[in-house]
Amino acid sequence: MFDRPEWADPVAHYLIEHGLTGTLRIAVIALLASSAIGITLGTLMTIRFAPSRALIRLYVEVWRGLPIIVTLFIVYFGFPAIYRPLEFDPFTAGTITLTLWGSAQIAEATRGAVQSIPRGQHEAAAALGFGWVGRHVSVILPQATRRLLPPLVSLLIGIILNTTLIGIIGGAELLEAATRMVEVVNATPPAGFGDRGEFRIYAGVMLIFFLICFPLTRLSAWLERRLVRT
């Protein structure tokens, strides 16, 4: 049964072409959006103004606290029930969901990173005539980036792993593509191949994810070690 089946090539091709591209597309957009929103919110959280702090804290705790699948159901089924125009296709709903989760993670990491920059840096930048925005964009955040790098790589791994949830609402990604292919392989000819594909196809999907995420995990660990050393 471990001979190379006739369906191996077309299935692998479909997984890469339709599955992996979908996964990576969602992952890249969600990573960029999460970083932009997360870094902004995290920086704003360092301002000593109770109402804004409380609001951002609530945002972080809610989207970090909910299981992502529940957030996905809220965005995909709940939002349009509240307000009709908020009806999204699975791809958009999935990207929004991962962005809510990811930005919450990054906001928390950014807050810590910004607060780790010594007060003197703030004061020196202020003395040079920078305003609050200029001070953070040009002086504080570039220094905080070093500390932010490991959590950003971890976030990328987390986002890639969690893209599989989007298949649940019918979005095109690797796991959804795999499920389709299992159906094709298991269908009776001529529609399918009349074989059993579950074991080999899902094992293959695990392998693809492992090949992408394992190097990233190593990278994250290396960045972490380098940070501790300096």
Partner: protein, 226 residues
């Protein structure tokens, strides 16, 4: 296009509370089994990794990396559908439910406990051995109580994640809380009420456990280090 949105949480709860409570019960049951199992896996494999026990240590490393670097959803699919392909490895939904989240939690706990055991000062272990304790007795009496305490906050984080991951059992239709709420709203169309209940219940559980960590962190800090 005006849609009459009726939102009646009270009516939703009074009609479905029994079913929702059964779902919550299953969520907690699966979580409890998985957490207990993940402690056993974590302590044994964490010790094997920290004390460099040959073969077990390498196998543990492979297990940890495979679980951490593949989506848990694919792991659930593999256990349920992939292994379900063969008569010999076919499992019931409930078995896959607790097994999948337990294996996931066990991998993360292996790392938590490994870090905890490695943080135990060398001289404490040497003192145990010098007193004539066997290696196992030294581990049980010295490394485990101290390292376990060091690992506690990070392992509670893993238990919170295990609890949240049970929501994914929706994909194999195990009737825990998320599946139950989903099925109710599919029938009654009370979408918003269903998601409100889910959100409130999960956040209450997760926030309570997080508060517990913060409490424990100060309470269990090793004397002389805090």
């Amino acid at each position: 296009m005006t849609i009459a949105v009726t939102y009646d949480l009270g009516a939703f709860l009074s009609e479905n509370w029994e079913e929702l409570l059964r779902g919550l019960g299953r969520t907690l049951k699966v979580s409890a089994i998985a957490i207990v199992g993940s402690v056993v896996i974590g302590v044994v494999l964490g010790a094997a990794r920290a004390h460099r026990i040959p073969v077990v240590r390498q196998l543990a490393a492979v297990y940890v990396e495979v679980i951490r670097n593949t989506p848990i959803l694919v792991q659930i699919f593999f256990l349920y559908f992939g292994l379900g392909q063969f008569e010999a490895t076919r499992m019931e939904v409930f078995t896959v439910a607790w097994l999948s989240v337990m294996l996931w939690g066990g991998a993360f706990n292996t790392e938590n406990f490994r870090a905890g055991f490695e943080a135990v000062p060398r001289n404490l272990r040497e003192a145990g051995l010098a007193l004539g304790f066997s290696r196992l007795a030294t581990f049980l009496n010295v490394t485990l109580p101290i390292g376990g305490r060091i690992a506690l906050p990070s392992s509670i984080n893993t238990y919170i994640a295990v609890l949240k991951n049970t929501a994914l059992l929706y994909v194999i239709s195990y009737p825990e809380l998320t599946t139950t709420a989903f099925q109710i709203q599919a029938l009654t169309l009370e979408t918003l009420e269903a998601w409100t209940v889910l959100g409130v219940v999960y956040l209450t559980l997760v926030w309570t456990l997080s508060a517990l960590i913060r409490g424990l962190e100060s309470h269990l800090a090793l004397p002389g280090e805090a």
